[in-house]
């Protein structure tokens, strides 16, 4: 029998699903009407988004002075939010690209939504540098285009410009990766559509996908190569984000550990956000048979490992500050842990290093309520990490007379809330209109990893023993 998989592997698709069941279950949230909870959450998200637009309008029409920044702390919530959102984005690419290269079949139930999360959160991240420019209509000045300012080009030595290239490459490549994977699934919805309007819309979105054998061959090759390209890309993006700090000469920023530390932190926060979103989505969209407890458990394990890497990085930073013998460096870290922002530092430590350690216990990492709670805690902790790195390193600089504190204004808070609203507006619209699980990919593993077929195989044990591998394609002579 083809599709052999060891019986000790737990099924990835539970509930006796056939191909037609997969189609129906994944088309259901798109075809059915929205329920009351969806409208309620959507309304809240939309209000938050509109409030954020109001705050952005106020900032741009009045000036950056409406934020809580001062001459000592020139970067605070804006860049904290930027790094936080970019970091969240990393899990999507990690799941779809890195786990594809590692042939992890469990990614198939979650990659679509994780990639959607990536794209929507990178959009939020991109807003902050543009707003912080103060004159966003001049945002095109970051591009290397010929100009009349004495041919004043952009500075390719600057990590801020590297960021422009890294983030835009990341966003655009993630988008085509996501869309290419969506084509067969849009085609599935198109072919089921009843109303001419839906047929038309999904016909356009599916680019006329027909599913020829040759198309599938190319599709798989393109997916594999994109995964190969996206893997170093995702690592480069947060590495370059960390260069924004690491290439400076600010104590607390000027450390060589930043690139791996930021990448691990990004994966950590991204998986936490995937868990937050999917634990709710599997319930609302009735996808418990596809996004199983096993999926949540595996994501919790990734959270535990990356959380531990982040913990090691925190401690290494402290050690290196002491070991360097540089007074300014030592003070920056002493001030973080014991100074006026100690509450932020210890919140970060508790949320990011301590809380994921609960995942060593199987009972806890397979508990949905506990996983959801930890995912929120980690999201908060990772926001604090960026706040601690940015604000505590700046607020006490080389001249004690300029030492000060940072407190956000309602505008700082409003823009942050606005991006959370915008993110959920996009995600909720996505959950109602897009196939939220890569159904074609799930179908391709249904025979090997579906509950129904695994049981069928195990009830006829002799069929696997006749051939060397049990695979008639691999051993046609048998």
């Amino acid at each position: 029998m083809a599709h052999y998989e060891a019986s000790i592997r737990r099924p990835l698709i539970t509930g006796d699903k056939t191909y037609a069941d997969v189609t129906r279950d994944i088309a259901f949230p798109v075809e059915g009407p929205a329920n009351k909870q969806w409208w309620l959450v959507f309304t809240i998200a939309l209000i938050a988004f509109l409030y954020g637009i109001g705050c952005i309008t106020y900032t741009i029409s009045t000036g950056i002075g409406v934020w809580g920044l001062n001459k000592t702390v020139g970067w605070a919530w804006d860049i904290t939010n930027f790094v936080w959102w970019v970091g969240i984005g990393h899990a999507g690419t990690l799941i779809s690209a890195v786990l594809l290269l590692f042939r992890q079949k469990w990614r198939m139930a979650i990659n679509r939504s994780a990639e959607a999360m990536t794209i929507f959160s990178v959009i939020q991240a991109g807003l902050f540098p543009i707003i912080h420019m103060g004159r966003p209509w001049l945002a095109y000045w970051v591009l290397p285009i010929p100009n009349q300012f004495g041919s004043l080009w952009v500075n390719f030595n600057s990590p801020l410009l590297w960021d422009v290239f890294a983030i835009s490459t990341y966003l655009s490549v993630s988008l085509v990766f996501w869309w290419t994977g969506l084509l067969p699934d849009f085609a599935m919805i198109r072919d089921r559509a009843i109303t001419p309007f839906n047929k038309k819309i999904y016909g356009i979105l599916s680019f006329g996908w027909s599913g020829r054998a040759k198309d599938w061959q190319r599709f798989e090759e393109v997916s594999l190569v994109l995964a190969g390209l996206a893997t170093p890309l995702v690592l480069s993006v947060h590495t370059i984000v960390s260069f924004d700090f690491a290439t400076s000469v600010i104590p607390g920023w000027h450390t060589t550990i930043f690139p791996p530390y930021f990448v691990a932190g990004a994966v950590f926060s991204g998986f936490a956000m995937v868990n937050t979103l999917l634990i709710v989505m599997r319930k609302v969209c009735h996808l418990e048979n596809y996004i199983t407890i096993q999926h949540i458990e595996l994501m919790n394990l990734v959270i535990m490992i990356t959380g531990s890497i982040v913990g090691v990085a925190y401690i290494t930073e402290l050690f290196m500050a002491w070991y360097s013998g540089v007074e300014y460096e030592q003070y920056a870290f002493l001030n973080r842990a014991t100074g006026p922002y100690a509450w932020a530092y210890w919140s970060m430590m508790t949320c990011n290093v301590f809380s994921p350690q609960f995942m060593w216990f199987k009972k806890l990492r397979t508990s949905i309520v506990f996983s959801f709670a930890i995912s929120i805690v980690v999201n908060i902790g990772m926001w604090f990490e960026r706040f601690v790195i940015i604000v505590t390193s700046l607020h006490r600089d080389y001249i004690p007379s300029s030492w000060t504190m940072f407190s956000p204004t309602f505008v700082d808070i409003g823009i942050f809330i606005g991006t959370i609203g915008f993110f959920f507006v996009l995600f909720l619209l996505y959950a109602r209109t897009f196939p939220v699980i890569a159904q074609a990919e799930v179908k391709s593993i249904l025979r090997s990893s579906g509950n129904k077929y695994k049981e069928m195989r195990e009830n006829q044990p002799t069929s696997n023993q006749n051939a060397a591998s049990g695979d008639p394609m691999a051993h046609p002579s048998e």
């Binding site: 083809a2 599935m188 072919d191 680019f207 480069s236």
Partner: protein, 192 residues
């Protein structure tokens, strides 16, 4: 596997006509074995429409492997060249500046600072141009009309187009059912 439904859609054939049989399968393992058997009998499989990628199908059908990965590699080299030429012109030739004391008189000395952008543009070109090539080769774009003959091919059925021109319909029908087809449709089209 027994035939479930038998349908014959025969349009009146007047002059020269191409006859095709659409054989539907509902199991990818059976489909793979069927492809092998059909090719052994020297029937011609024109196309197979699948709801998901069936591993080994293109090999069984005798489809040549795709060279999209090679194009991606070549596009990546183009991206690297574009990045190098662009930054060499902007930072070294057109307007060299002293930025933080970094060397600005030769590309190779200043190169370490340019590595991130050289990498990003390599990936940008390799990814986007490969995807565009894929879309063009597979004829995929917005407003393109879908060409799968049966809507079930995006759900749970595999549709095989077998050339039946000049074949004995009765024997090929029986043969296809024996390979595990669940439904056969005769397509009788006039040539234009």
């Amino acid at each position: 596997m027994l035939p479930l439904v038998t349908q014959w859609h025969i349009q009146a054939s007047k002059t020269m006509a191409t006859q095709k049989i659409h054989a539907l399968y509902n199991d990818d393992a059976i489909l793979l074995l069927a492809v092998k058997k059909i090719r052994e009998q020297h029937y011609h499989i024109e196309e197979i429409f699948c709801p998901f990628p069936v591993h080994g199908l293109e090999k069984a059908m005798g489809i040549a492997s795709t060279r999209l990965a090679v194009t991606s590699f070549l596009y990546g080299i183009v991206g690297l060249a574009v990045a190098t030429a662009m930054m060499n012109y902007i930072m070294i030739e057109d307007w060299p500046q002293n930025i933080g004391g970094k060397p600005s008189f030769s590309y190779i000395e200043n190169m370490p600072a340019f590595v991130p952008i050289m990498f990003e543009l390599t990936v940008f070109f390799a990814a986007h141009l490969m995807v565009i090539t894929f879309y063009l080769r597979s004829r995929l774009w917005p407003f393109k009309k879908a060409e799968n003959p049966d809507v079930r091919t995006t759900d749970d059925h595999f549709l095989m187009e077998v050339d039946a021109h000049g074949e004995d319909l009765e024997s090929i029908t029986k043969f296809l059912y024996d390979t595990g087809a669940v439904e056969l449709v005769l397509i009788d089209k006039e040539d234009h």
